[in-house]
Symmetry: D2
Subunit: 337 residues, 4 copies
Amino acid sequence: MNIAIIGAGYWGKNLVRVFYSLSDDVKLKYVCDLDEKKLAKIKKMYPDVQTIADANIIFSDPEISAVVVSTPASAHYELIKKTLLSGKHVLVEKPMTRTLKEADELVTLAKEKDLVLMVDHTFLYTPAVKKIKHLIENNELGKINYIDSERINLGLIQPDVNVIYDLAAHDISIFNYILGEWPSSVMAFGKSFITKGTVREVEEVAHINLEYPSGVMAHVHVSWLSPVKLRKMLVGGSKKMIIYNDVEPSEKIKIVDQGVDIDFGKENSFFPIYRSGEISIPKLSEGEALIAEAQEFIQSIKENRSPLTCGESGLKTVQVLEKATQSMRENGIKIYF
Amino acid sequence: MNIAIIGAGYWGKNLVRVFYSLSDDVKLKYVCDLDEKKLAKIKKMYPDVQTIADANIIFSDPEISAVVVSTPASAHYELIKKTLLSGKHVLVEKPMTRTLKEADELVTLAKEKDLVLMVDHTFLYTPAVKKIKHLIENNELGKINYIDSERINLGLIQPDVNVIYDLAAHDISIFNYILGEWPSSVMAFGKSFITKGTVREVEEVAHINLEYPSGVMAHVHVSWLSPVKLRKMLVGGSKKMIIYNDVEPSEKIKIVDQGVDIDFGKENSFFPIYRSGEISIPKLSEGEALIAEAQEFIQSIKENRSPLTCGESGLKTVQVLEKATQSMRENGIKIYF
Amino acid sequence: MNIAIIGAGYWGKNLVRVFYSLSDDVKLKYVCDLDEKKLAKIKKMYPDVQTIADANIIFSDPEISAVVVSTPASAHYELIKKTLLSGKHVLVEKPMTRTLKEADELVTLAKEKDLVLMVDHTFLYTPAVKKIKHLIENNELGKINYIDSERINLGLIQPDVNVIYDLAAHDISIFNYILGEWPSSVMAFGKSFITKGTVREVEEVAHINLEYPSGVMAHVHVSWLSPVKLRKMLVGGSKKMIIYNDVEPSEKIKIVDQGVDIDFGKENSFFPIYRSGEISIPKLSEGEALIAEAQEFIQSIKENRSPLTCGESGLKTVQVLEKATQSMRENGIKIYF
Amino acid sequence: MNIAIIGAGYWGKNLVRVFYSLSDDVKLKYVCDLDEKKLAKIKKMYPDVQTIADANIIFSDPEISAVVVSTPASAHYELIKKTLLSGKHVLVEKPMTRTLKEADELVTLAKEKDLVLMVDHTFLYTPAVKKIKHLIENNELGKINYIDSERINLGLIQPDVNVIYDLAAHDISIFNYILGEWPSSVMAFGKSFITKGTVREVEEVAHINLEYPSGVMAHVHVSWLSPVKLRKMLVGGSKKMIIYNDVEPSEKIKIVDQGVDIDFGKENSFFPIYRSGEISIPKLSEGEALIAEAQEFIQSIKENRSPLTCGESGLKTVQVLEKATQSMRENGIKIYF
């Protein structure tokens, strides 16, 4: 199977590295980018890959079965559409598109063409997120009350999307995955400081509040203007709680046996009883998420099935990003799905 | 000067300890509580203090100049009113009252009676918060863009107020103090899980979004249901940023010389330039905040002046707490002041 | 039972606080110190305690059953001796004495007089150290290979003993307790920098290497000149290992299911197999160690039995401190016991 | 300039990556290893590199100017000797050799042949170590009193050298570099647990104590059996102190303005005065140390000069490793150089 990668930027380079040495079946034939310097670097590292500036070469090459799109978000829609219309499977970096309408059209097109449309929600392939999903599914945490995520650091300010599209795309896709449901409402609050008043004004700091049908309350804090890099998520269950710190090299997940029960013995009495037991840090399997994801892409093509992070899941994420942005710009109004 | 303390609970015990040995001028005459066990403990530790169950003894004792109220919030209004009506100065634990209306009435009453009405916003007397105020005033941080605070842990669930009244009272008073302005709008999102459906239902987790007239965006996350104890505040200025971690024993404040500038050389170009310089951890003065606060109370009485955390500042905090609670219960609607 | 405390310094104040409100049976009658300011502070906090400058009042008061000695180490020997000779039980701050000879004499004297001689090795009453002892005794860690301890910070430089006597006394007593054996040899390496060349020259930084009969290798790093405060101990067992961080407020002990096995399948092959499983952080019981210790002192007197940290255990610690100091001053020579 | 790398193991792979894309002047012609699997991986990643199993091809190829030796330590001596005898420059992984005698012979041989003999003491090329050297040279820390290093983790147990040779080689080379002097004495204490009693018995945990002519006291703790990975160094100066934590992603160095002075006003008085000021975390330059090192190798060849980590410095490190091992096996006896 021959594949091509469009976009050799920050994340694209990782995709090139992974697909280059994925398996003997898969051959990375083209890397396409408009920036000659990036192509030169790729050529130096991988002399047997063809580096090209014109993506049409890929679409018209019958040897190519699948395309990986890793460009700025504003180019996703056109490139996915062309890829699907040329009869090739596609894996696209998150967020899939900038609007629900575009996402909808592409999901429909992929179905019609019977092609795999997969979104690069990498975190869903990490051992940490898989472990959290497993713990929730096995009812180890009890009823989930809330999820709270912080994804903040300095930069990288995107030129074509706001911080919600750039960073919260990760959190939304993780929430939806581990809870196994889509949110019922969203509200957001955010502002622009650095780009404010410029032609490229986008919100750089934002808070998103979500409700899920099961009653879970979720919150995401995203920022490009933070003095500290945090990748932290709390999951509060009625039996146990999780602290997920993705910046930790090895102790990413702490399972805290802790909670509150309330005794209402007499009418007016009120005795919260705080349980506080052992903390356990599970040993997570190793292995790079991006490799697992690339393998899922190839396998779903071979098996002609929907991948874990399919177009529909990408669409659901885009829907939240779009409505969160709308809420943020309309005084934080609550928007129902 | 003779003083009395009403309420010998969790925080009241600290007030007793501090006022007991504050200075030779100040004598702690009474400690009042309805719980005999608490009184017995006080008596054992401080045999020369009179422990009483009836607060009216205090109000009618002409020797008493000032009263410290450290009861559950629901009792504040009545006790402050009685104290002022009996011609005595009052220091009250935060939040001052549960409603703006009550706060308003008490501030007016104190003015009429020419008495000190002070609120126990202890954090404003900490070296850390004073340092942040100093840095902002001296323009070391540049224009302040945002403040973000997390004050979360397991418990202590209050019987008579929600988590916003209990915990966010600290953050709101700190924000107002270091910025030197009151917020112009508030929105909040919160839920009840443990007490849900009971007679004592209160929100246990909440997110509050605030706007200030100067353009600062502020956010507070408060929770009684967190697996981890956090007391963390980020202050993002255009020149420098602050990480304030109150849980750290000695390195509470980090000043990060970091920021982003954007170069718009040509029409469509977009080059964010990330500055990232030295981090400095200032040596903060030592000394317990509660002692500084108690001294401020005594001094403001002696000098017949308004204390730092005067009734008006307590009122402004209560106003935010009340409106945040209203927003939280009305779909997160934005409320302007 | 009436008791007296001699020495109201840094640690003495804690002992006063604890014994003052220990139980209704125990009455703190005297606090003795040469420093009038310290006595005045004690008097202000505890008006019903008699503050005195002459310890002989204690020794000659027949009402006094037991004495707590919390002076600089150089005064311990004389004060313990006088206490025992006056027929009273004694609890002495660590280190018990400065020489093995003195310790030996006092242990013998206490036996002859049938009095309790107890040493204030507080750490042995902490839930963390008790937990480690429990884990070792129950063979949860397998065979213990090594213990490694760091106890370093800035100050407090003692005027009459070196850093080994001041800080390593804790580690040695912990090692002996959790291993249930005394060391067979000691070597030490240390230097004086700040006090070097003065009349009060003592070593301020030191490393101690110990061997135990069971084969355990132990190391202690103590320093008064460290830029960071560390209280960290590693216990390496063949099955599991412990990270004990006493500076952590709640997660003091981590039990790490980790180790190495080596496969020697063929003559020259060498395949280390690294096991790396879950980490668990047990919930430790709460309660102040000093209270537990004070209760043990009172109980051992009442029950006429040897306390956990008896004179013999104090003597064994002094022996190590003395020989470690000797080694340090004789080129690090290994000294056998 | 054509180069070859012998050894494609854990560290060798990094050397391949760096030398492969170092500059246009330098061409990585051969990678040599006895393990076919390792060669196959190299071939897949770098198709234009020749992978060979026989190192003699390298020695007899006149196109090759320089060789990088990255094999187990036991093979270093023979390979360096052959390289030099074939007239090629050599960069060798640390430790240079297993004995001072071998190191001596090779340094002499390189001088006779006028070839560069460089040792891969990578840490000396890191921004953190360079910063510490700079601070010491500029007298920012005052007189250096001590250095204390911990380099501990689980594994990787080496088959042919003990933990001192494997890990302390880093610390010794750093100490010598930042102090600008060689140690005057060494003592060591260490044991074998996992490999004990086997044909491959080597010490897996060790403590090394060093003295330097200037009076600096240094200590290194190395271990393959630690439950936690630490790479921490303290440098204690009379004016300031450094905490160097190499595991931190960005805040590797903290400069602590802290110290003790002692006032001996009257004969017997003793007042230590503790200074405790600001902590600053400098922004370190970025850039991979291994690239800087590779460039230094190439430059020193081109400029026909001695590199920073020359053979002599490698020899001085080997000398300490050898004597530390001897001390460790002879009851910790102090050995002078």
